[in-house]
Amino acid sequence: MLARGDLRVGVKVSGSARFTGTAESDLFSVPGAYVAYLRRLQITNESTASAIVTLRFYNGATGKDVLTISVAAGATVVLAEDELPTEGCPTRITVESTQQPYTVSYSVELE
């Protein structure tokens, strides 16, 4: 909805993290005045059992589950575009899984 010449393109940031625990862990902290929009998410379940992975967006100190997905043992799931939450995240993004180890790669756009 923005006009040509207006500010509209965010800063692209990507990263990857391997988690060896099932507890909630930080995936990405949103810097300064930016808001993060998740553009791509890849989850690899390296365990021998199916995992339920939960993605949580923090707004200040309050977290909200925005995505819960089942990943089969040894499988990789890639989410993009319409499969990801459209709302921005103002503070930090965390992940939690019922199985470990697992690897999460992400691309976010900071606006």
């Binding site: 006009a3 040509r4 010449g5 005045a33 808001v35 707004n59 200040g60 309050t62 103002p90 606006e111």
Partner: protein, 167 residues
């Protein structure tokens, strides 16, 4: 009163060039210099109830002898009511007077304001969460016109909306 096609149009070019004139609060000003404004950003998190924000206190203000021409962009699950303060003229208020709310869908060219110095047209926002807790990112960008008050009445001058035409 015509606004001379100043508002509701895209893209965003400077409204005033040096040696042009504008009337604000019954005073005429000559533009001395036009330059881009350094973007201003505000992020509020964990909004659980309606909150009032004085944007001047948050740094969205003009210096003395400067006219700020800003467009605002709203991001986040909130509704925002913008109110023009310190104006007091017959067309004071704009959206504020009409109690109109803007949100993330509102294009920035419909949320454009002028702020003169620290006393005329400064902005005040009422933020209402759509979901709880909500967050808001507000971005302002635009132009700074360095102005000089003139005693003579120029033959051609602009009268903008959303800022006082009389004091």
């Amino acid at each position: 009163m015509s606004t001379g096609g100043w508002f509701y149009e895209e893209p965003f070019a400077p409204r005033l060039k040096p040696r042009e004139f504008i009337q604000v609060a019954d005073e005429h000003y000559e533009v001395v210099e036009t330059r881009p404004m350094f973007p201003w950003e505000l992020k509020l998190t964990n909004i659980t109830a309606e909150v009032d924000v004085d944007l001047k206190e948050k740094g969205l203000k003009a210096l003395k002898d400067e006219l700020l021409n800003v467009r605002l962009r709203i991001q986040g699950p909130v509704q925002v009511l913008f109110r023009v303060e310190g104006a007091g003229g017959p067309i004071f208020g704009g959206w504020g007077a009409a109690e109109r709310w803007a949100d993330e869908r509102t294009p920035p060219h419909l949320i454009e304001f002028l702020v003169l110095g620290e006393t005329k047209g400064w902005l005040y926002a009422k933020v209402r969460p759509i979901t709880v807790p909500a967050w808001l990112k507000l971005t302002a960008y635009g132009y700074v016109y360095v102005v000089r008050k003139t005693s003579a009445r120029p033959s051609v001058y602009a009268i903008p909306a959303y800022i006082a035409s009389t004091g």
